[in-house]
């Protein structure tokens, strides 16, 4: 069997190519014709609410379930025809930590190393190396069941990295974690990405996709409803907000009035936010940004900091579907708000 060459555009090759993927469970269509691509060395965020089909997608791509229709190739191997070869090229970290709870962290990693055909010596070295890297050396000998949620998730990530997978699936890697632990996991993922990992990340957290992904595929009820770079998607939704922090917070009101009175073309709705010491100016172009900053400078206002803020992905979802993400469980709703807050 030969690897399928999937490099039609001549750029970086696709690590994952999915076309028209369908999976039914009884009457429900978990996947209803999904297309997506993950380029080598990039992170694709698959964003969608609970029940959108994200986990089904990952299970199809990791050979746990067989799709009813459509094709999917990972690292050039077909998920249905070449599952054995494909399994050698992937790493999976699920929503539920897939490590053996009764085994220690070290034993878990050693076992997986041996299952991946490392020699005893190499498996030992790799286990030590990854425990060190994921800051688990101290807990190495303790059973995983005594680990905190974040430690377990890190162990799970370490386990997925043992075979240096060509493609790593992260299925909702921070669901159910508190904000501090979530940041730990993000740091690890960002490190892996910086080192060149190809990642397919599913998430229902807008903030997570924004932090980790280059490209985004938004799915809802088993269908892709939007596709593109994060900034592209945001641009679709509307303009940016220019945020200005004056050196003297007392001048916020005066600055807002100055902008309003100047009547710059297309600039309106300037808001002073005294609580944060910020002035928010909605803008549509770089010219407007320059004009606003120039105006304030010319009037002698001191500016300590400026930045632009793109709309949140919550707003993106709203703009694409015309509704808030369809959530199946009220519990997840809370989680989203917690993260967005």
């Amino acid at each position: 069997m030969t690897r399928i060459d999937n490099n039609p555009e001549g750029g970086a090759a696709n690590a994952v190519t999915v076309r028209g993927l369908v999976k039914h469970f009884g009457d429900t269509k978990a996947l209803d014709g999904v297309d997506l691509d993950v380029r080598e060395g990039t992170v694709l965020g698959v964003l969608g609410p609970n029940g959108a089909g994200k986990t089904t997608l990952v299970r199809c791509l990791s050979t746990l379930i067989v799709p009813d229709a459509g094709t999917a190739t990972v690292a050039g191997y077909d998920v249905v025809k070449q599952p054995r070869q494909l399994r050698r090229t992937i790493g999976l970290t699920g929503q539920y930590a897939s490590v053996d709870e009764k085994l220690s962290g070290w034993e878990n990693l050693y076992m997986i190393g041996r299952l991946l055909d490392l020699s005893r010596k190499d498996a030992r070295a790799r286990a030590d190396e990854l425990l060190e890297r994921f800051s688990l050396t101290e807990a190495a000998k303790r059973p995983a069941m005594n680990y905190s949620g974040g430690m377990r998730r890190r162990l799970d990530l370490a386990a997925s990295m043992i075979g240096n997978p060509a493609v790593l699936y992260l299925d909702e890697p921070t669901t159910g974690l508190d904000p501090r632990t979530r940041n730990e996991v993000w740091d690890e993922v960002q490190r892996m990405v910086a080192e060149g990992a190809t990642v397919l990340l599913t998430t229902q957290y807008m903030e997570e996709a924004e932090q980790l992904a280059n490209q985004l595929t938004v799915i809802d009820r088993g269908k892709v409803i939007a596709n593109g770079g994060i900034n592209e998607l945001k641009a679709k939704v509307g303009g940016r907000t220019l945020q200005i922090r004056p050196t003297d917070p007392g001048q916020l009101g005066a600055m807002a009035r100055a902008i309003a009175e100047a009547g710059l073309d297309g600039v309106s709705g300037t808001q002073a936010v005294p609580d944060e010491g910020l002035l928010n100016v909605p803008i549509l172009s770089d010219e407007q940004l320059t004009a606003v900053v120039g105006l304030l400078g010319a009037r002698g206002f001191g500016i300590a900091h400026i930045g632009t803020h793109l709309p949140s992905l919550d707003e993106v979802f709203l703009a694409i579907t015309g509704q808030k993400p369809t959530l199946q469980e009220s519990e997840s709703d809370d989680e989203i708000q917690e993260v967005a807050a």
């Binding site: 746990l64 930590a97 085994l103 991946l116 932090q211 900034n231």
Partner: protein, 283 residues
């Protein structure tokens, strides 16, 4: 205020240690297969070390059964309150029963075990899926060996005497282990098919009771009504109990031993592939 923190130009992945290259078809060679089974046996053994209570049944079941049956039934079955004679009748039979009991525990255990996330990891790894099941069986045979040793020690304390030789005793033990291993495939299949561990236990008890008591394990079938004798004659547990008994006490072995082996091979040949297929498909 970071809106685009992700790196646009990633560097190359660290080389580190790469697993050996597979053959073009991705098939797993026999040596790799053995290595995988070894790693998984280690996992199952470490689980027992972590949770020693899981050995309670293997350790205490033989003690309680021997005491109970020898002293409750011993006098009645052999008449004249002569328990000593019954020990030599019962202990080889209990070897057969133990295989069935431990095999049943495998079914309920596997039902729980296979709901865990780690099974998803195994099923996404380049290993033969049967190796997960085979490793489980290897460890359970170890548990059976512990249980059988304790059973024999109890037997010797209560007056078991070997009329043949140690070699034949070992043959009896070996035969019951082989048969017990084949039974495990049935219960693994049950454990993978049914939804809950309780359901597995329920069905297992339904099968277990008639098979155990409708056999030559506890009493001579010649004392039973004709229809029941027919059942016990075809009951593989009777074959195993007879073979083990005659190996220890002396007597014709060939027929019952061959029947036992035949059953073991037939059961494994049918249920093992079904269990592996079930494990493969389980989502």
């Amino acid at each position: 205020m970071s809106t685009a923190t992700t790196a646009e130009a990633p560097t190359k992945a660290p080389t580190g240690i790469r697993p050996p290259v597979m053959d073009a078809d991705g098939r797993i060679g026999p040596r790799a297969n053995l290595r995988h089974i070894g790693a998984l046996v280690r996992r199952n053994a470490l689980q027992i070390k972590q949770d020693p209570e899981s050995m309670f049944d293997a350790v205490f079941m033989p003690i309680i059964f021997t005491l109970l049956f020898v002293y409750v039934f011993g006098g009645a079955v052999s008449g004249k309150g002569n328990q000593g004679e019954y020990v030599n009748y019962l202990i080889p039979g209990l070897m057969a029963m133990q295989g069935l009991n431990i095999a049943m525990a495998v079914g309920t255990g596997i039902n729980d075990d296979f709901k865990k996330g780690v099974m998803d990891r195994f099923r996404t790894m380049p290993i033969a899926r049967s190796s997960v099941l085979i490793a489980k069986i290897v460890v359970e045979i170890g548990r059976m060996m512990v249980a059988t040793s304790i059973l024999l020690i109890m037997g010797f304390i209560l007056g078991l005497s070997i009329h043949t030789s140690v070699l034949e005793l070992l043959a009896a033990v070996g035969l019951s282990l082989v048969f017990g291993a084949s039974l495990m495939w049935i219960f693994i299949l049950l454990g993978l098919t049914m939804k809950t561990a309780q359901a597995v236990q329920g069905v297992a008890m339904l099968v277990l009771m008639p098979l155990q008591f409708g056999s030559s394990i506890f009493a001579k079938p010649t004392t039973m009504p004709g229809w029941l004798q027919t059942f016990t004659d075809y009951n593989p547990l009777s074959n195993l109990a007879d073979a083990a008994r005659n190996l220890v006490n002396g007597g014709p072995v060939a027929h019952s031993a061959l029947m036992t082996m035949g059953w073991a091979v037939a059961i494994t040949a049918i249920t093992a592939p079904l269990a592996v297929a079930k494990f493969r498909k389980r989502t």
